[in-house]
């Protein structure tokens, strides 16, 4: 959490400096998705798309390396929207735990879909990604800027941010409030772009099957609803290595971080 707060403060500082005209570096230049958006244009037209640049591209390549090593650690540790989603999720759970005891209406908030439905809904991200990449390449403009929660929240009313942008972000935040990590799970285009690389990630959460008391706390704490207590190793491409499962585990040394491919 300290790491995430630090990142958010850095992003706010960068956004504020740019908005005040004290710096020429916008927060957009630190968005790795911009690197993916501009890659095709750079290879075909030898030109960056809109406001993207070499920093986006280098960070995206770096992110691919990071993902192959440590799955979606970027989402769980660096992404400001991931951090905000996680805090909303934890806050909602804490807030409605007490209310749920008194009234059934609150018991199901946040609403966790079944794992089967959750897996299917995650595919929504693919058309979102294709739509963004296609239109960005076609128009040469970052036309979805006004819909991007990262840009809208941290650019201090930057270029292309309109009133409806805030309305959309409000709806997204409300969605996260009701459905845990809704943006990351069902809408984030970067999340689906990273998924194949994350799937082959080398770092993994390993569970000691012999020592585990199967209380299920780890699975209940997982912001991505992964069945940690049912597997020996969490090999899901959606694992962000946020370590929530490790923190809530009542026994020591049951959940560990392992580097796959190397013997103990």
């Amino acid at each position: 959490m300290v790491f995430q707060i630090g990142i958010i403060l850095l992003v706010l500082f960068t956004g504020f400096r740019y908005a005040m005209g004290w710096s020429g570096t916008s927060i957009e230049t630190y968005c790795p998705l911009g690197g993916l958006e501009t890659a095709l244009s750079l290879f075909t037209h030898q030109q960056f798309t809109c406001a993207t640049g070499e920093r986006n591209l280098a960070l995206f390549v770096g992110l691919l390396f990071l993902t192959v090593l440590s799955r979606k650690a970027f989402c769980g540790w660096v992404c400001p929207i991931g951090a905000i989603s996680e805090w909303i999720y934890k806050g909602t759970k804490y807030m409605f735990r007490g209310l749920g005891k008194r009234n059934d209406i609150y018991r199901n908030i946040p609403m966790e879909p079944t794992r089967k439905l959750d897996r299917r809904l995650r595919w929504i991200r693919l058309p979102v990604l294709l739509l963004i990449l296609g239109f960005t390449f076609w128009t040469g403009e970052l036309i979805f800027r006004g819909f991007d929660p990262y840009y809208v929240l941290f650019s201090f009313h930057g270029h292309d941010v309109k009133m409806w942008s805030y309305a959309i972000i409000g709806i997204v935040l409300l969605g996260i409030f009701i459905f845990p990590m809704a943006w990351c799970r069902y809408l984030c285009p970067l999340g689906v772009a990273l998924w194949p690389f994350s799937k082959i990630g080398r770092l993994t959460i390993a569970r000691s099957v012999e020592k585990c008391i199967r209380c299920g706390e780890c699975s209940r704490a997982c912001p991505h609803n992964l069945p940690v207590d049912e597997v020996a190793e969490v090999n899901s491409g959606e694992c962000t290595l946020c370590l929530e499962c490790v923190h809530v585990c009542p026994k020591e040394d049951i959940l560990e971080l392992h580097l796959k491919g190397l013997k103990r």
Partner: protein, 144 residues
Amino acid sequence: MRVPFWTIPVLIVVISLAGLGFSYMISFPSITVTFYGDDQTIPETKKIINLIIDGVTCVDTALKASSTVEDVDGVLKFTAYASHRRVEIEYDPSRTTPEKICNAIEGPVFDQDSGEILFNVFRVLRINETPYHNMNGVTFTRNN
């Protein structure tokens, strides 16, 4: 093999710094516009100024900014790095000065047919005649 949990933030920091360092070493322009023909020779005394321009945010605005210096005699080449709001201008010092170039950038652009102002949106925040990587220590802020 079991690894400590601090491996994750360490990996993130190392790879992020490597990415940022690499991006600092490479530099691709958003647009490059040349204002001389193939038959013209570039004077050996040509100079380069680096400008940070408020309003240059993307390829489109960089193209607009290039049109502000199109008619300035002596401007040879306009290269924009939109993600940094940075513009590099090559000019012939015997025909123009940085001051004239900045005035043109900050001045309005008129429609050639109607004479109406098309746009007047750019503001030069910094001027530097040293290479880009030495620009962090700003040497000169222009007084308007």
